[in-house]
């Protein structure tokens, strides 16, 4: 589903965020991406959604080589990937319903279908009945669940999360992880960047570990170029 082949990323500042990273995620796999802050976790996720582009190497996402993608093609790649952010990235002047509906509106889905799917997504994160509220009226955990509902509302085959439990207490944190686990069980490929080892022990999933831009655990064996 996701394949990195000898991918490197050097920022314009000269900083090497990723060095020769190779790994793959199978369809319907749930994998944790760990490493200290600054190890390159965020950069790796950004490469998958093409917020950043790789300096070297090949990237394949959902059977598509995204190493060379034109500006016009990027939005369609992003529609196949649901992303959950640590800071939620919700629109605070719109209701929960409108926030979750956004990916469908953007993709031009009809009104009735949108309404149905938004309700289904909110149901999965247990927020049905709060669709008329504004994000600011919700707790941190609830806001993150809105973010998850938005990420899955158009049923993407891939779900990425960057420190989704970063600001939450352990109980809420477990709740959020359980939601991700459910989507994995529904057949979604899930990649979660986290620094909380508790989840890894609890859910017993494969782990990718980054250390100063190098993949030190879980990667594919590759001959050094």
């Amino acid at each position: 589903m996701i394949r990195f082949a000898q991918v490197s990323k050097r920022y314009e500042s000269g900083h090497d965020a990723l060095k020769n990273v190779s790994f793959h995620l199978d369809k319907q796999e749930m994998v944790f991406l760990i490493g200290r802050s600054g190890a390159g976790k965020s950069t790796l996720l950004k490469l998958i959604t093409r917020v950043e582009s790789a300096t070297r190497g090949q990237l394949i996402v959902n059977e598509r080589n995204i190493t060379r993608l034109t500006r016009r093609q990027v939005p369609y790649l992003r529609r196949e990937i649901g992303v959950v952010f640590q800071d939620h990235k919700l629109l605070h002047d719109r209701t929960v319903f409108d926030n979750v509906a956004l990916p469908l509106v953007v993709a031009g889905v009809g009104h009735r279908e949108t309404s149905r799917r938004v309700r289904a997504a909110l149901d999965k994160v247990d927020l049905l009945g709060k669709e008329r509220l504004y994000p600011i009226m919700l707790s941190g955990g609830e806001q993150q669940r809105v973010g998850i509902a938005r990420a899955v509302v158009n049923r993407p085959p891939i779900l990425l999360a960057d420190e989704p439990t970063g600001n939450l207490d352990p109980e809420l944190s477990d709740e959020i992880m359980d939601i991700f686990h459910q989507f994995y069980q529904f057949g979604v490929t899930v990649l979660i960047a986290t620094h909380e080892h508790r989840h890894i022990d609890r859910l017993n999933k494969r782990v990718l570990e980054l250390e100063q831009g190098r993949l030190v655990r879980g990667g594919d064996e590759q001959a050094e170029p």
Binding site: R71, Y76, R78, R79, V83, L91
Partner: protein
């Protein structure tokens, strides 16, 4: 969802955006309105002056003033003679007595005239020349010939000042066109600036939209509609300003025209000109929004 339904939705939401900030929308629309009203008013001015002068165009008039001591008989003879020439289409004799009556009636100096023992006004003959006889050199020749007669004091060609008027009008027209270009540029700058601000205000939203797979076209659309709507509302405002101005000026102009015995009514902005104004406003708004969007939207990328 059909293409048109989606566009209608964007249009409605763009209207909503404008309505949500009524103060700044009103100011922008007024600024655009005033800026568009100026060239429109000048255009109407030129149009009206052209209308007035069109009546004179093409047919030259020659006024022949006789000497004060010329008799009425001489005047009548001369008029009859001139009327038979090929160049002259029609002629009109105004005797000294007639001239005096007319002057008395119109000038308000009646009492002063009564004091005078003699009529100070000469007899005159008004010649309307044939329309196919309008070469300046030929007319000058005719005038020179008439001037050489002993009973004639002065023959002059009334087209001269009309010619001058036309040259002046051409100059004014060109100035109006230049001014219009500058003001149109101002409108584009006003609108593209408000669109730029709108883009900056919605930076986060644009970033998020891009992250969840919105195409450039989708993100651009509401801003383009915003520009078109502002241009359209500005043009409506300009139309209102122009009609108020024309209404305020109509009576004084009518008074002025009456003093010159003209039969002329000020023409305001007609339906076609109004439609053109609206189309121009919308087009300028679109152009301005397009420029702003092209310049600033692509710079906003998720990080």
């Amino acid at each position: 969802m059909s293409y048109f339904v989606r566009h209608a939705q964007v249009l409605l939401s763009s209207l909503g955006q404008l309505a949500r900030a009524p103060g700044s929308t009103l100011m922008t629309v007024c600024a655009i309105g005033i800026t568009l009203a100026l060239p429109t008013l000048l255009y109407l001015l030129v149009e009206n002056v052209e209308n007035v002068s069109r009546n004179w165009q093409g047919r030259a008039q020659v006024s022949v003033f006789l000497k004060l001591d010329a008799t009425t008989q001489q005047a009548q003879n001369l008029e009859r003679e001139l009327a038979q020439r090929a160049e002259v289409e029609s002629s009109q004799l105004i005797t000294a007595q007639q001239a005096l009556e007319e002057f008395r009636a119109q000038s308000g100096f009646g009492v002063a005239l009564d004091i005078l023992s003699d009529n100070p006004l000469p007899a005159s003959i008004l010649l309307h020349l044939n329309s196919d006889y309008n070469q300046p050199s030929a007319i000058e020749g005719l005038i020179a010939e008439i001037n050489s007669r002993p009973e004639v004091d002065l023959a002059q060609w009334d087209m001269a000042w009309i010619k001058r008027l036309h040259v002046i009008l051409k100059l004014v027209e060109r100035s109006v066109a230049l001014l219009a270009v500058l003001l149109v540029l101002a409108v584009v700058i006003i609108i593209s600036n408000t669109i730029r601000l709108a883009i900056m205000n919605r930076r986060d939203e644009i970033e998020i939209m891009k992250l969840i797979g919105a195409t450039e076209r989708f993100i651009r659309r509401p801003f383009l509609y915003g520009g078109v709507l502002q241009g359209l509302l500005g043009a409506l405002c300009a139309g209102a300003i122009v009609s108020v101005c024309v209404r305020l000026l109509r009576d004084p102009i009518a008074e002025l025209v009456m003093l010159y015995h003209g039969d002329f009514t000020t023409s305001g902005i007609d339906l076609r000109a109004f439609a053109a104004l609206l189309v121009a406003g919308a087009a300028l708004g679109w152009l301005a929004a397009r420029a702003a969007v092209g310049r600033y939207l692509s710079k906003i990328e998720p990080k």
